[in-house]
């Protein structure tokens, strides 16, 4: 996941202006320009989907936490309950990221616990979530 995409776009634009544009004759500059073009494609994909993929991840984890049949240790269960009572402060990416990070931290702990107690069904559910998570955050770039 790209951190601070807006800042990254600004940083890349600056790079393009200050170190690539003045010297596009060299292989190094050409390579940089090519990479920046690919990165801008990633940013464009993330710009379009950033809120959607984060919200999908969060919604799926809320559903997973709400439907837990195995009962995790009290401390983890309490933190999951606190998370389920909360919501993102707004739809700004910064706020969705904060909510997403909380969900992912709980997921990591829950997954480790599921492995320890051999809660195979839960382990499988978490892996299925991770497959969907990896797919929806994938960048589709020309080969």
């Amino acid at each position: 996941m790209i951190p601070r995409p807006q800042q990254a776009l600004a940083d890349l634009a600056m790079k393009l202006a200050t170190s690539v544009a003045p010297d596009t004759q060299s292989a190094y500059a050409a390579s940089n320009a090519g990479m920046i073009a690919m990165l801008m494609q990633c940013l464009a994909q993330d710009f379009d989907r950033a809120a959607a993929v984060r919200t999908q991840d969060i919604d799926e984890l809320v559903a997973l936490f709400e439907s837990l049949r195995d009962v995790p240790p009290e401390s983890l269960a309490n933190r999951i309950a606190t998370f389920l009572r909360g919501s993102a402060e707004s739809l700004r990416i910064e706020h969705l990221n904060a909510r997403h990070a909380s969900a992912m931290e709980l997921l990591i702990e829950l997954h480790a616990w599921a492995e320890t107690v051999e809660a195979d069904e839960l382990d499988q559910e978490i892996w299925n979530f991770l497959i969907r998570h990896a797919d929806r955050h994938a960048y589709h770039l020309p080969v």
Partner: protein, 353 residues
């Protein structure tokens, strides 16, 4: 005036002092080489007279960047080149290690250029190079096998590298790279966490210790138009460890992406393993190798996560850091999930060997 003119002049002044036995030394060409993720890399051409005879030579000049994809020790890398150069593993001739940052702003090293070669992986799919895949692949994994067979004391690397206990080298590598992920992640990493837990369960002992290149893959060796490998590059992550570490890294699906059946864009994985076995004389322990395959993806992920952090918080804003960080993190995550998820459809990686 080219943006590289000040550096060209500085290198020339340095070499005139350093190589005072040469006359009329001039740097007549300098180009920055793209893709140098851990060092700023330049190709330079020099003319001079030696014992009254005119000469023109090419060199590779590698300088520490202000910020790097991989935090590495330049002296260790240079000494590794020096140790490997006299052996059957082809590497460029190391010439200068300058650790005084006062000379050219940052420490640097210089090697002889191996001219007329390529490193690019996409070439292997072109009409010119596709017929050479078997030839290049056979050399690639034979060289790695020979490296794995070498004795670390005879090679001399045990004089300047830590030699871990055979029982401990897998755990040491895992601890290091898991530490990088813990330190540099800007967001929780549930896929990395699951893989690290998987790895912690059963790190295998090494059957022997060898010099591990640390980044042995397509893209890190020079091949010419006849398909001959002329030099193995980028030894900055070299260390003493398990021979299976390099083999697994070389076979990671990332290096042939999105082609998952040809390792490094060259050969089927099982063929590569067979060549390595024949050249190394070592045993292929499938259980241990499975561990190293997952480790390879975690080490990769650690480097990409670190690059993401470096691009976000560092000062250089080199596009290669973002490229490695954003694109490779995505692909490596898909590879790990593909390999470890119990109901994987293996869309991005073949099942573990």
């Amino acid at each position: 005036m080219s943006a590289l003119e000040p550096l060209r002049g500085a290198i020339e002044r340095y070499l005139v002092r350093r190589w005072s036995h040469l006359q009329n030394l001039k740097i007549v060409g300098i180009q920055q080489i793209p893709g140098g993720a851990s060092r700023e890399t330049y190709r330079i051409a020099a003319t001079f007279q030696e014992n009254g005879v005119d000469a023109k030579r090419g060199y590779i000049f590698r300088r520490d960047p202000p910020s790097s994809l991989i935090d590495t020790n330049r002296a260790l890398e240079y000494r590794t080149y020096t140790a490997v150069y006299p052996t059957s593993v082809p590497v460029p001739e190391p010439l200068i290690l300058e650790e005084d940052p006062g000379e050219l702003e940052r420490p640097f090293s210089m090697m002889a250029e191996i001219a007329g070669c390529e490193t690019a992986i996409p070439n292997f799919a072109t009409p010119a190079y596709a017929p050479l895949r078997e030839k290049i692949g056979t050399q690639k994994w034979s060289i790695l096998g020979r490296l794995g067979a070498m004795d670390i004391d005879e090679l001399g690397v045990s004089k300047f590298m830590h030699a871990p206990d055979r029982a401990d080298c897998a755990r040491r590598e895992l601890d290091y790279w898991a530490g990088v992920i813990a330190a540099d992640s800007l967001h929780p990493q549930p896929i990395a966490a699951a893989a690290i837990r998987w790895l912690k369960r059963d790190p295998p002992p090494a059957q022997k210790l060898c010099l591990v290149h640390g980044d042995y893959r397509s893209g890190n060796f020079l091949y010419d138009q006849s398909g001959t490998i002329r030099g193995v590059l980028d030894w900055e992550m070299a260390h003493i460890g398990d021979p299976l570490e390099d083999l697994a890294w070389s076979l990671d699906p990332l290096w042939g992406w999105p082609e998952r059946h040809l390792a490094g864009g060259l050969l089927p994985r099982r063929r590569a393993v067979q060549i390595w076995q024949e050249a190394s004389g070592l045993q292929f322990d499938a259980d241990a190798f499975r561990w190293w395959q997952v480790f390879a993806s975690i080490k990769g992920l650690a480097i990409w996560i670190s690059s993401t952090e470096d691009f976000a918080n560092g000062s250089t804003k080199e596009p290669i850091l973002a490229m490695a960080g954003w694109v490779m993190t995505d692909r490596q995550n898909r590879i790990i999930v593909d390999r470890l998820a119990p109901e994987s459809e293996h869309r991005y990686a073949e099942p573990l060997l």
